[in-house]
Symmetry: C2
Subunit: 154 residues, 2 copies
């Protein structure tokens, strides 16, 4: 199946496809590229979108709680959440009972956007991709299991 075109730039396309880590890495890039134009409509990046979804499901979370869900820490989340605050999607407020804790809440506009992106965006994408609910669930389950094994190994 070697075509003339494959002798030049495409010669080695798929050359790294025997590495599972690369499958995960490159699929992540592809997901990002697919999401980007949709999220641009809301002015959100992909990790910002994840924070909005997490807050849509449970509002008024601490930075640490959000980090627990996204597997990120304050060094990444603090600036990200500050950008969400600057965009008017969330508020950041020190907990009065424990001043070490910062509580993140959706603004009214944030709630509206979070609702939108939680439902419309994934549905719109998965339909465009052409993959069944069952395939998604099975693959996702394998990935979550793998992720847990990787975490245990680390």
């Amino acid at each position: 199946m070697t075509t003339p075109a494959m002798t030049t730039e495409n010669a080695a396309r798929g050359a790294l496809d025997d590495f599972l880590c690369f499958g995960v890495y490159s699929t992540g890039l592809a997901f990002n590229r697919l999401y980007k134009p949709l999220l641009d409509r809301y002015g959100l990046t992909y990790p910002q979108y994840l924070v909005m979804v997490a807050l849509a499901r449970r509002d008024d979370q601490t930075v640490g709680e959000l980090g627990g869900q996204l597997f990120l820490e304050s060094n990444t989340l603090t600036p990200l959440i500050k950008r969400l605050e600057a965009a008017g999607f969330v508020t950041r407020q020190r907990d009065t009972a424990d001043e070490r804790v910062v509580r993140v809440r959706l603004t009214q506009r944030g709630q509206s956007v979070a609702q939108d992106v939680s439902t419309c965006v994934p549905a719109e994408l998965m339909e465009a991709v052409g993959i069944s609910i069952e395939e998604i669930a099975a693959l996702n389950q394998s990935l979550v299991t793998l992720r847990e094994k990787l975490q245990r190994a680390a």
Copy 2:
């Protein structure tokens, strides 16, 4: 299965686990965290490691060819490869026949490191993770198929 500890920070751990995109994203983070200490021994980042593996398989590639395999472009690869050059792992040289093209070649030391990381690192990791060759191959095939669908949709 709700434990007392789950009422606080861990309450919503796994809250985003119904999103396939998040499964891919978070598994990518976990892979990176697992690889990091091993690659630190060579002074390589994960994408740098991918370039070294690609060059181990076929040396003397152009920036565009490497990008075709890693799904990246020169805006990402040029600075990355310059760092590999600064570290003494590769050389960068304009093609004499077509001066637009930059050819990347492993140095002697680069060849040695590339050999090492191509074989030892993945084997060492997968053994630590505890996942069979068959599981790896099946999951990876699903991911490559998904990636291709995502690319077509983009």
